[in-house]
Amino acid sequence: MTPLPPFQTVLDEHSAAVMGILRGAVGRDGAEDCFQETFLAALRAYPKLEDASNLRGWLLTIAHRKAIDHHRARGRQPIPVAEVPEVAVENGMPDLDQGVWAAVGALPPKQRAAVALRYGSDLPHAEIAAALGCSPEAARRSLHEGLKRLRKELG
């Protein structure tokens, strides 16, 4: 059994990744609340955590659930976007605030999370699967479907 590191280490090492996927999943405004809920839930459960070998996957699973709760609470449905503004892209990735991420935010939850985890947090498929609590194949499929839909929407 890997011993649990001081929670401060967990916060230092993974808060940026958690914030990254939450911004992709619920937008910049909702991300702050979801971040608080995610880390409070994690801190509450932390002493009983039995396997400390994949803390990032564990946190991202919690973050994913909090993002789903957030969407449920707001009763939000994916909103089709009439016009997508053109955005400048640097290093092959757009800024978080720009149109592409708005479109990502409008994807169905699993696809949104898969895209955000892959491109927002740069996670490999296996970790996306761990975060979503599904098989790597299912994660790959969600990612693929999400990207297909984005391509269609963003033309």
Partner: protein, 194 residues
């Protein structure tokens, strides 16, 4: 793509963790004339003081293991501890008034440390006297090792314990620090202890 988080976000998280009773160990570092100290407290009180020559990361891992893994850097929680230590180092405080959490030492060691905690400012005692106060006069070496393992040095003043001969003995923070503390308290002049 690298996402950064606003420092206010982490502060809000820690404030809520404290409100909800989830902050089991709060720590901070603090300056001292001898170098940086690590200060850690639980809801019961001050649980650990790390001296400048001790590795803070190791101390935090040890706290996570022995007290609770809910360890967070939360300087505000230690404001009062820092304030009293600052006054002490300025020579303006001769008695700490801080709740202490003794859980990191048990049995005979804890009895020795509690006896040490009653040695007044500016006075010294011998390891033998501490062994006797703790209930076993012959356990002088064990009393010495209790001093050596003191989790709350400075506040629990193990620097006030000397050999019967008057020699300094040992100190977890190094002998120059022990000598410096005794000079601060006016027990030693600067030539003593060599």
């Amino acid at each position: 793509m690298k996402t950064t988080i606003d420092p206010g976000t982490a502060d809000r998280f820690k404030a809520r963790a404290a409100e909800e009773g989830l902050l089991d160990v709060a720590y901070t570092s603090a300056d001292s004339p001898f170098g940086p100290l690590l200060l850690a407290k639980t809801r019961r009180g001050l649980v650990r003081v790390g001296l400048p020559n001790q590795d803070s990361d190791e101390l935090l891992v040890d706290l996570a293991d022995r007290v609770s893994p809910r360890v967070l850097e939360a300087p505000k929680e230690l404001d009062e501890v820092r304030r009293e230590l600052d006054l002490y180092f300025e020579g303006k405080l001769d008695r700490f008034d801080l709740p202490l959490d003794w859980r990191l030492s048990g049995g005979f060691r804890q009895r020795v440390l509690r006896a040490i905690n009653r040695i007044p400012y500016g006075q010294t005692r011998s390891y033998t006297e501490m062994a006797r106060k703790a209930g076993n006069e012959r356990a002088v070496r064990a009393a010495g090792s209790a001093c050596g393992s003191n989790p709350i040095p400075l506040v629990v003043p193990c620097h006030r314990v000397l050999r019967t001969s008057g020699a300094l003995g040992g100190y977890g923070g190094g002998l120059p620090m022990k000598q410096g503390l005794l000079e601060l308290e006016g027990v030693l002049d600067e030539k003593h202890g060599a």
